[in-house]
């Protein structure tokens, strides 16, 4: 990041804080609702983006995040409603994410299927399976995850409600952001992961097993998307509905790119996209604009297109050099 980009970032952040406080002063509940909605939407996007970035940093494109979200949400909801345990449901969601990550790895890394096709297979499979097995009569008798106040932090006006009075999976995601950041940029695993995404041949000649590491990474990354699915069904919404991932697996990829394939960058981008989502919800609730709701609902996606197009102009963003390529030994 150049000094200039950093400057822009600080100015933007400062502006945001000032604006939030101004709005908060004018209309407290409304502002809190929008910002809380922002964090809610951002959590899912951040989990998807982390799943995507671990894959891409190792050289594997994952466009199956949408499907991973959906099938994991289904698994999490079904197990939770059967056992009556949100915790077991969450574990099931993560497990399903790992299985789907493993399936993607088996296709894209093991069988050397085109990565885009492999991801599409996941998306179609998830939509088909969940639609077929969906049981309308199921519900979460015990309700969804509820907010946990983090002691005195939750008492801070606005910030407390928005960040420190959240349900458990949101906190877990924030912890994971730090964990993934350290893992990617400080650990031996991360250094090797970045190497196989940039120049797998170089990694191979120093004795790193490229295919094994890609297999492992894509599978583990699936677990993050699986957690996203659990979050969607058990924390954000509290039920399962058909195609409930609603394109957010793809939006997560935009978030990942805009965040330069770093966890914190992705979270900042996720908050931004989450904000547009929350804003459009609020517009619809208040009937702010006298136009069909579908148009207001387009807001996050229109912003995505604009931002992704612009981000190409703002600074050069380089993909990992071996992204999307099958690695052949020798």
């Amino acid at each position: 990041m150049t000094a200039r980009q950093k400057q822009l970032l600080y100015v933007g952040a400062a502006l945001l804080v000032v604006m939030s406080w101004t709005f908060y002063a004018a209309d407290g509940p409304q502002t809190t609702a929008v910002l809380a909605g922002t964090v809610r939407a951002a959590t899912l996007l951040a989990l998807g983006a982390m799943c995507g970035m671990i894959g891409e940093r190792s050289g594997v494109v994952n466009i199956g995040i949408e499907g991973q979200f959906l099938l994991s949400a289904f698994a999490a909801f079904t197990i939770a409603s059967m056992t009556g345990s949100l915790f077991l449901g969450t574990v099931a969601g993560i497990g399903m994410g790992l299985i789907m990550g493993w399936m993607l790895a088996a296709m894209a890394v093991g069988l050397k299927v085109d990565q885009i096709i492999a991801g599409t297979v996941l998306n179609i499979a998830a939509l088909g399976l969940t639609s077929f097995f969906y049981d309308r009569s199921r519900s979460l008798g015990m309700g969804k995850y509820t907010n946990i106040d983090l002691g005195p932090l939750a008492e801070i006006p606005l910030v407390g409600t928005v960040f420190f009075s959240r349900p458990p999976l949101t906190y877990l995601t924030m912890v994971l952001l730090v964990v993934v950041h350290i893992a990617l940029f400080r650990s031996v695993w991360g250094m090797r992961t970045r190497a196989i995404g940039e120049h797998p041949g170089a990694a191979d000649t120093v004795g790193i097993d490229v295919l094994k590491l890609r297999y492992f990474n894509v599978t583990i990354a699936g677990g993050l998307a699986g957690l996203g699915g659990s979050y969607l069904a058990l924390e954000a919404v509290g039920t399962f509905s058909r195609a409930m991932s609603g394109g957010r697996g793809f939006l997560a990829l935009a978030v990942m790119i805009f965040g330069r394939r770093t966890p914190f960058g992705a979270y900042a981008a996720a908050l931004f996209f989450g904000f547009t989502t929350a804003l459009q919800n609020q517009f619809q609730l208040n009937n702010t604009f006298d136009i069909p709701p579908q148009f207001v609902g387009m807001l996050p996606f229109v912003v995505t297109i604009i931002v992704v197009a612009l981000s190409g102009l703002i600074g050069s963003m380089r993909d990992p050099a071996a992204l999307g390529q099958v690695y052949e030994k020798g």
Binding site: I182, H199, A202, A203, T205, G207, I208
Partner: protein
């Protein structure tokens, strides 16, 4: 200390259709430099890959430090002290020097890379061997010679007692290459053994203690620099006596054929690769463009042949402007092109040899009539090309992919030379082909010159430039450093210009 650092004993390796290594034996002793000499396809790379554990031999043994070993992969070889510097550097460009050096053997604390420790080890290593380097520089920002140094340090960091270098001087200027040879010589003083793979005779004679010559997968000679000379080595490599320098008469330059003025061209990433070039090529002369690869040669050739649109400047052929002409417009003016990448731009691999022989004019009479190809005429033409240009093939119906590199190149030359040509643009015309074919193609290029064609020769092989050109232009960073008459040019002078140095 071991008697034998590294050896192959009766190694045989069969690939589908090729016996790549046939009963090869060679050995390296401490403190010595073993040169493996051979043409492309002679089996050097296969042998080295076996010694480094990438392939397993079908029969025979690999010996490391007096011990017969069974290598299961490169990490096996690395842990036994074998270090390899690959022809194409195995470095991760956006990572730092220190990260590249320790990758795969990172000093760590509880799973986290200990960068401070890594950096101090790298600094210590670079001081011990006199290989200065900035450990925090990004590899992508380093010049090629420095990147090679990183590769060597990478091997030394892994405590290599043997360094294998695969064609290490291909990407260097002559001065950088000489410097590298000096560094290698110093390294052997510490007891390190070096295997040096090359096809350049001069280097072998300059550096090797022992020379093993390979041809068609077999050892055809073992010698030392004291016992032989360039032509002796060349004869061993090829199996018959060869002419290393093509005889040529003085050029008879006539009218200007190609005139390039203030040409600017971008590369694929949108960076300026050709920066305001102006030059002329006259009928009956060869203008050689010398330079280390990646200094704008590719973009220049693509612009001149109509494959890439220039940003600004003009190009004229026989006085007619062709600046934004298509490849076909330009070819119609009597321009022949031997492209740098024959697999990509020279032939269509899945097409037959006959179809490939008319790629530049299948659409014209007599090869097609009202839009329908005339197979009989095309086949007759192909037979002529095969005959006249000595393309070794079982038939003209086989796919171009089944030809060897040298034969593919002869096919391309045959196709391009069978019309009357005004301008020949030859880019790396002899890359990766055997000496016999090189000699043949060199003679044909000079023949075109003597028939009155203007020739623009672009090559990274300085010997080729010096041997064929009447005038030599040196390209550095997209600019012409100087244009020399052939009689004023020698390796030293051109080499300095290639490095961007003017006295």
């Amino acid at each position: 200390m071991s008697e034998v650092l590294l050896a192959a004993r009766n190694v045989t390796k069969q690939f589908p259709g090729v016996l790549a290594n046939d009963d090869i034996s060679a050995q390296l002793r401490p403190g010595r430099i073993l040169a493996l000499l051979g043409e492309n396809g002679a089996g050097k790379s296969t042998l080295v890959n076996i010694l480094f554990g990438m392939y397993r031999p079908d029969s025979g043994e690999v010996v490391i430090k007096d011990e017969i070993v069974d290598l299961h992969g490169p990490d096996d070889a690395i842990s036994r002290g074998i270090g390899m510097v690959h022809q194409h550097f195995q470095l991760v460009p956006p990572m730092r020097v220190v990260e590249n050096i320790v990758l795969g053997a990172e000093p760590s604390k509880r799973g986290l890379v200990d960068l401070a420790e890594a950096r101090s080890r790298v600094v210590e290593l670079s001081q011990r061997y006199g290989l200065e380097i900035d450990p925090d520089a990004l590899v992508e920002d380093l010049p090629v010679g420095m990147q090679q140094r990183v590769e060597i340090l990478k091997a030394l960091y892994r405590e290599a007692d043997v360094l294998i270098l695969d064609e290490p001087t291909g990407v260097l200027t002559p001065q950088e290459a000489d410097h590298l040879l000096g560094v290698l010589r110093e390294l052997t003083a510490t007891g390190l053994g070096i295997v040096f793979i090359t096809h350049k005779l001069r280097e072998v004679l300059a550096i090797a203690d022992d020379i093993v010559v390979l041809r068609n997968g077999r050892v055809v000679g073992e010698t030392t620099p004291a016992e032989t000379n360039e032509s002796g080595l060349a004869e061993m490599m090829v199996g018959r006596s060869v002419v290393l320098r093509v005889e040529k008469s003085a050029a008879q330059p006539a009218d200007v054929v190609l005139a390039v003025d203030e040409l600017e061209v971008n590369d694929d990433r949108g960076h300026l690769a050709v920066d305001g070039l102006s030059f002329e090529v006259r009928a009956g002369e060869v203008l050689g463009i010398a330079g280390v690869e990646g200094n704008g040669q590719r973009e220049l050739v693509e612009a001149v042949t109509g494959l890439r649109h220039p940003l600004s400047g003009t190009m004229r052929i026989n006085g007619e402007e062709v600046t934004n002409g298509s490849a076909r417009d330009i070819s119609k003016k009597g321009v022949a092109h031997i492209p740098e990448d024959r697999e990509k731009h020279g032939v269509i691999s899945v097409y037959s040899l006959a179809e490939n022989s008319v790629l530049n004019r299948y659409h014209r009479s007599p090869f097609s009539l009202r839009g329908v190809l005339r197979r009989d005429v095309i086949d007759r033409h192909a037979e002529d090309v095969v005959e006249e240009f000595d393309v070794r093939t079982p038939s003209i119906a086989v796919a171009a992919s089944s030809l060897s590199g040298g034969n593919k190149q002869k096919l391309i030359v045959g196709r391009e030379f069978s019309d009357d040509i005004k301008l020949l643009i030859a880019a790396q015309p002899t890359r990766g082909i055997d000496i016999g074919a090189i000699e043949f193609i060199h003679r044909r290029i000079l023949e075109q010159r003597d028939k009155g064609a203007a020739v623009l020769l672009v090559s990274a092989e300085l010997d080729e430039i010096l041997g064929l050109s009447d005038r030599i232009a040196v390209l550095y960073d997209g600019k012409l450093m100087d244009v020399l008459d052939a009689q004023d040019a020698d390796r030293e002078r051109v080499g300095l210009l290639m490095a961007g140095i003017t006295q």
